[in-house]
Symmetry: C2
Subunit: 421 residues, 2 copies
């Protein structure tokens, strides 16, 4: 089997290494496409590409090559990659990709094209890198009725938040993550939830059989989380994680991505560093947890290599049907509201009044000692209520004159102790 590799960066070069280590002589890289390809030929992992391979800056050399059976795309982004992969599928080549955006935004059309051409489009590396969530669900959980998926699918945010749990400051940890290569110079795609949202949509198609538009999934930034949130979360038996969750009930998908309070007893709270973790909840099988290294060149390359090997072995992956569905960002959950105020009489009354107006019941009020009166952080938790009903109250409270910064409103995950027989 002959592979045309698009992209010889961190993952692409790791894939070449993993392929070489597999000792599988029936699979070889015959073409490598990259911009500035001469520089790439000098890469320390270029030695893992068989001599005689074509290194090129013209993508057509790969897409039109008669001696390429599988196109492995490890560049990312929608444009121009979408057109390239359409061309590859159209030419009857299998495609293996790690491109979550492409699968999230264009999956339906691409799967249809692959089916029409009788080739496979595998994307095991698109979510959670080296953790086989995608093949695990496709091949091993298709027999269940999965009603919810939740988890941690962005390693950068998990690195930041799990480091903050140890006492570090957001800005400081972000800078460290950037220096270590875990976070981009512009960290928005990660910290604002857009990366996780695309992955959530990829999982929703597979697990919930729901094709949802990533743009409809509300994404909340983690950049407003501060050390004090971890202190209050701890008091509530929780920690803070960027959680991606989607649930299906009565034909409606509710989905969201953002920092949430996670009980310490939930497996989601166990993930440390750049670890990923996905929990599926099934009507018959209960909760299944997948976790491991979600990012990095080598773990991602393992997922790519597993897909390549599956094709080489003549395996055909289960193709599950999915239906276009609307997304509701709203969810019924207890909520955590954190305020930073300039202390004065009547604050609690004003906030309680705002909440009462929208019918939200206060469950607890927490205020630690030891803060100055001009920047006093305190927390209100609510009983379960629709997140949308809180929106108006939060907007009203944000405008109150004693607010030093906008209130932070987070969902609180509830551990579901449902058991199966």
């Amino acid at each position: 089997m002959r592979i045309g590799l698009l992209g010889f960066g961190t993952v692409g070069s790791a894939f070449a290494e993993v392929l070489a280590a597999s000792g599988n002589e029936d699979v070889r890289i015959t073409h490598v496409f990259n911009r500035g390809v001469e520089r790439k030929r000098g890469h320390e992992r270029a030695k893992f590409v068989a001599t005689g391979a074509v290194w090129t800056e013209r993508v057509e050399d790969v897409l039109e090559a008669a001696d390429v059976d599988v196109v492995v795309e490890l560049m990312g982004g929608l444009d121009p990659v979408e057109g390239w992969l359409r061309a590859a599928l159209g030419a009857g080549k299998h495609v293996v990709t790690a491109n979550k955006q492409l699968i999230a935004y264009r999956g339906a059309e691409l799967f249809a094209l692959a089916a029409e051409k009788g080739v496979q489009l595998l994307y095991g590396a698109a979510v959670a890198g080296g953790v086989p969530v995608i093949p695990g669900i496709a091949q091993g959980l298709s027999g269940d009725v999965i009603t919810r998926i939740s988890g941690i699918v962005n390693g950068t945010c998990n690195f930041i938040l799990s480091s903050m749990e140890g006492g570090a400051d957001y800005g400081e940890v972000l800078a460290k993550a950037q220096a270590a290569g875990y976070a981009e110079a512009n960290p928005s795609a990660d910290v604002d939830g857009f990366d996780a949202r695309a992955k959530l949509c990829v999982l929703a198609r597979l697990a919930l059989h729901a094709e949802i538009d990533p743009e409809q999934v509300p994404a909340q930034t983690i950049s407003t989380i501060s050390a004090v949130d971890f202190a209050y979360a701890k008091e509530l038996g929780c920690t803070v994680r960027q959680v991606s969750r989607a649930e299906i009930a009565d034909g409606v998908v509710s989905a969201s991505v953002g920092p949430m309070l996670v009980p310490k007893t939930s497996p989601i709270a166990w993930s440390r560093g750049t670890q990923n973790m996905v929990v599926t909840s099934g009507r018959f099988g209960g909760d299944v947890v997948f976790s491991g290294h979600g990012a990095g060149g080598h773990p991602t390359a393992v997922a790519v290599m597993s897909d390549v090997r599956a094709i080489a072995e003549g395996s055909v992956q289960v193709r599950l049907p999915a239906k276009k569905m609307k997304v509701v960002g709203d969810v019924v959950a207890p909520h955590y509201l954190r305020f930073v105020v300039a202390d004065e009489p009547g604050i609690v009354a004003a906030i309680a009044g705002s909440l009462a107006k929208v019918g939200a019941n206060i469950d607890s009020i927490l205020q630690h000692r030891g803060f100055g009166g001009d920047r006093l952080p305190f927390v209100v938790t609510t009983e379960p209520c629709l997140s949308s009903t809180l929106k108006g109250a939060v907007a009203e409270m944000a405008a109150m004159k004693f607010m030093v910064e906008p209130p932070v409103c987070l969902q609180m995950l509830v551990v579901d102790d449902r058991d199966t027989d």
Copy 2:
């Protein structure tokens, strides 16, 4: 697709329910084989089998039926099931089974027969029930070089040991497990490790590409574990679990099953109740954790249904090659030795002398206060050493006149903090 179901017990009847709930009208049960089939027809889940299905006590009615495409075997055991499944495969029928013994002891021949006949033999339910470890490894980790698998694959033992962690006594918990249906009247297959050993061999074939003989894997009983072991384990930052582990290095497989000390920081320590958990360690992808409900009718039925659905959707599972390999039961690890002695002077000297003779270094000696001198439990931990070298010392110590009961010798798992890039 027409299914001939062998066995309408807990899992078989749950499978009928899960199939009915899937709404998949292209898949239906046309035959049900069971002894005492009239009684089974009265089962409350018999309603999930389509009317018109043949209920029979003659297995030939299923194996020879021209209108059965897939034989689903949920009875267990080697004999007579092996012959039946050979007949089914021989007749060109796909086979889906939850039978770990069959795959562990006869897998190689059966896979060869299936390949020869161009049909599939799927067994996702054979290990960890509803947790998709088998398809996850086959489809999603074949690209890695897995060097170790470890985990908890027997829910009964995990229920017993995690209950004992809470302070309960072995005999008491076993009785409770038997009453709840988690343990058999004769619990030997579970507590003595034979069930877990078969599952470990199934996983070793898939993950380590090593075909090993279950009889060669040493299995140690959990029945010697007592409350005091949990107390000492806690002091060592550990708990006790029945762990199944296999490791490959330099072409040799070392494997064993039995109660081991597990650090609380290891995911293996997190499993509670009847949960199963499998950790694979790969050269490129690092550790991947799978966990969830490993047993019970419905979770197991999910795995069976997923295999059935994969076949119905025209999927073909990756078939990984495996090589016959010898097993070494020996492992280099720190060990935990627990003694119960009638107190007298010179005990520590005698034990230390035994250990010194085999070259085992003592790492710590723990002795809690508050026990009577005639039944005094205490613990010695060793630095890493070959378990076989300890065997002689343990035998020698067992014969010492102050020993009230035979010493308990457990491996201590070490958490490997290897990271991947």
